[in-house]
Symmetry: C2
Subunit: 471 residues, 2 copies
């Protein structure tokens, strides 16, 4: 490594100019402060390349000097992958690589650089009559490179898949500074190992994604959206099965929220009015899309069948765009509202869909046994088996005391149930630094060895996001 | 390596018993003779393990002694991945691992061992009211392990994706004999590198797949199928675009066949009657599926719009299962019929969908310039940009002379056009040994280096299908 911070700053400045290097800690706030404020290490520098060639130059330099690089996009990740772990790393921010290189609606592709904000990718797709169907709460700040590196999910995975499935090819700078030119617009290409899917979801540990070819889809003519009142997760599971049989790939979203989620949002005036049909133990937000010329009213017809089978108690269909927006706000504000209710403990987990009711029942019971009065708020992507199994502190408890007592124990209890059910301890947020120890405990050691072998093969000096993802 | 064939046979027999080892060359026919009879090297032995533990024992032994192992399933591959390259390898046939371990229609998953024949997987899925939507001409003999290792495509990729996208997890024996236990039924799991997608499509060079968790889908209530008469690939492209906008994910198949394909099949009495609406330069076979409760007649309505826009000249809708079967036979018999028309030269290529007409026009013209009288028969998965760009010899030419003169030159001409259009020289059949030299010429050298680094990391003694896939 260069002998001092001053050396590093001087050398980086030599590569990309003074306007692209931040060395003063007090100017690094935007790059260090991640959403949940869990990680507090500083960085030696933040460097902001403006071109792929500059990224290559920086990586080549880092590899030569053994300097750890942390690729960063919109800094919205929830597991600390994009912020320092040791304190001696350089953050390489991709925010200036924000060109949408091409949009080709006929081919159904967009090529976007790593720094493109998701919402801008949405707009560019929609300007051409298409959609890029990766939708999630942080889309106003999350950027393409980070979304791909974390294999982001979101609310439309049922129909369109997660970030990996929405990506046709990537361009990435490898540890030695060479450029992997894997952009492509081919639906089929069996000429070698699947390097694209290896780089997607690798949290920047195998290469720095600089651009990607993304899949675009025809814009639906309309959406049909509803919130149904439902007695239990078990009934939700049966309803999901029915809808999947009736609607196949047109079922875009099936999200559940417990009564407490609505209570909290109404109490904190986060909704202008109740988007549901009235009090219920659980709600399911369901959405389907209709293509041009397609049949209208399919969701309503399916919901009527569900009534006949006594799967649901009540329902309300969105009758306007503002209804739909309010329904989705109700779902998307679930994370935010918890921060207004004191301390919370979160688990981004998945299980086979059939096991979701058991997960929620056993997890809630275990939490109540450990910490009487704790408030379970499991919500999210029931249709993917992916529940954000969150807990709010008991009313009136001291947040710090609660966290000190509950954090570790509750994690252990929930993850034990998840693993018993054949589930995953990180369904969509990844590993980063938050879940490194957990991964060591739960992951098949053979898989970990394969990961290590691949990491060593592609980044022998361990300069790409060192210490992240791999225990 | 053990010093002699006799040693190898003795040691293998010690591992799995005499009934599971074939040493006599005259008994190896089923394992050596691949569909196109292009590869003619013998093997030292064929070994037929009956359990995962036996596969592990064989691989451990091979790794210790530096013996090359060739994993083989139904022996239907078209690029020689599953047959010997050098002659000193042992074929490890997975045919006896043919248990369907579980079918779970509620979770939408099936766990099948590598040796399960695709058609049996279809039947097991359908017995539970679901489908496993990987359909291709060789489904009566192709097996799960080979289908995954070659990332097979088939006729329903538009809706359901190829083998990679249809696989949720794999179990595989690694080069050191350890078992990677990657079976899972999770729709979302971001706990590490995407090892599943690395093993799928690796042609057995990184591990031997022993089982897989496959995705099942609700069985459509009905299909709507038609063949349209269409003037040109360009009109077909426009029609595809229209249908995609109208039908979204319900459009299951969009296959094209030129007039010559129909002529040949009628001439050789491979169809009991003409499945089309009459003579046309090109035909498109189009199919959509309808879920329970869904609207009927959607395909007809879309086809009527295409008439109004003068995109098509005539069309016939399947009115019975036998109509549908005949239409599909017409498409599926395209490879077979060519063998009745003398020598043929084949290219399994893909380009961005928008470029398919240009590929067909330029490729046909180049072939005619090189070999007047040659008969282009480009057909296949237009909706995936994946054309089987085949050529039959001129009528009356001597097959051997034609192959000797044309094979190399025609490959060069076609691949040059494919690469110019940003395409792939192997869309779905893979690399094996057939396209090794080609891959060296056309693949990004950085990607090849990444592949080599991964191969060396996971199979340091190069015992897993040595010499295949990687130049």
């Amino acid at each position: 490594m260069p002998s001092s911070t001053a050396d590093i700053l001087a050398q980086l400045t030599g590569l990309v100019g003074p306007a692209a290097v931040i060395g003063a800690p007090e100017q690094m706030g935007n790059y260090l402060n991640e959403p949940r404020k869990r990680f507090h290490k500083g960085a030696v520098a933040v460097v902001l390349p403006s071109s792929v060639a500059e990224v290559q130059a920086i990586v080549r330099w880092a590899n030569e000097h053994g300097v750890g690089l942390i690729p960063q996009g919109g800094n919205t990740g929830l597991v600390g992958a994009q912020v320092p772990l040791r304190g001696d790393e350089v953050i390489i921010s991709l925010t200036r690589l924000d060109t949408i290189r091409s949009v080709d609606p006929a081919a159904g592709t967009m090529t976007a650089e790593a720094g493109v904000i998701l919402e801008n990718a949405h707009k560019a797709a929609e300007a051409q009559g298409t959609i890029f169907p990766l939708w999630l709460a942080s889309q106003g700040s999350a950027r393409v490179g980070g979304l791909l590196s974390s294999n982001a999910g979101g609310v439309n995975v049922l129909t369109y898949g997660n970030a990996r499935e929405l990506t046709m090819g990537v361009e990435a700078v490898l540890a030695d500074g060479r450029l992997y030119q894997g952009l492509n617009s081919l639906k089929k290409d069996n000429t070698g190992y699947d390097l694209k899917d290896l780089l997607v979801g690798a949290e920047g540990t195998l290469g720095i994604i600089t651009a990607a070819t993304l899949k675009l889809f025809p814009k639906p003519e309309d959406y049909e959206t509803c919130i149904v009142n439902i007695a239990s997760p078990d009934a939700a599971r049966t309803l999901f099965q029915l809808l999947r049989e009736r609607l196949g790939g047109r079922l875009n979203a099936f999200e559940i929220v417990p009564a407490l989620g609505l209570d909290m949002q109404l109490r904190h005036a986060m909704l202008d009015r109740d988007p549901t049909a009235g009090p219920s133990p659980w709600y399911a937000l369901i959405e389907i899309s209709r293509m041009a010329g397609g049949q209208a009213g399919l969701l309503q017809a399916a919901i009527e069948t569900a009534f006949e089978r006594q799967l649901i108690d009540n329902a309300v269909l969105a009758e306007s765009l503002s209804d739909r927006t309010r329904m989705w706000a109700f779902r998307e504000q679930m994370s935010e509202v918890q921060s207004k209710e004191g301390a919370s403990i979160k688990h981004d987990v998945s299980v086979p869909i059939a096991a979701v009711p058991q997960l929620i029942a056993e997890g809630s019971a275990a939490a109540e046994r450990l910490f009487p009065g704790i408030r379970p708020v499991p919500f999210g992507h029931m249709g993917d088996g992916n529940i954000h199994f969150n807990f709010s502190q008991p009313v009136g408890a001291d947040p710090k005391t609660f966290m000190a007592q509950a954090d570790e124990k509750l994690h252990e209890a929930i993850y034990e149930i998840v693993l018993k059910l054949g589930g995953s301890v990180s369904a969509e947020h990844g590993i980063g630094q938050l879940k490194i120890d957990l991964l060591r405990q739960v992951k098949d050691p053979v898989a970990l060895d394969m990961m290590r072998a691949i990491k060593t093969a592609l980044d022998p000096r361990n300069i790409l996001n060192p210490g992240k993802m791999l225990p």
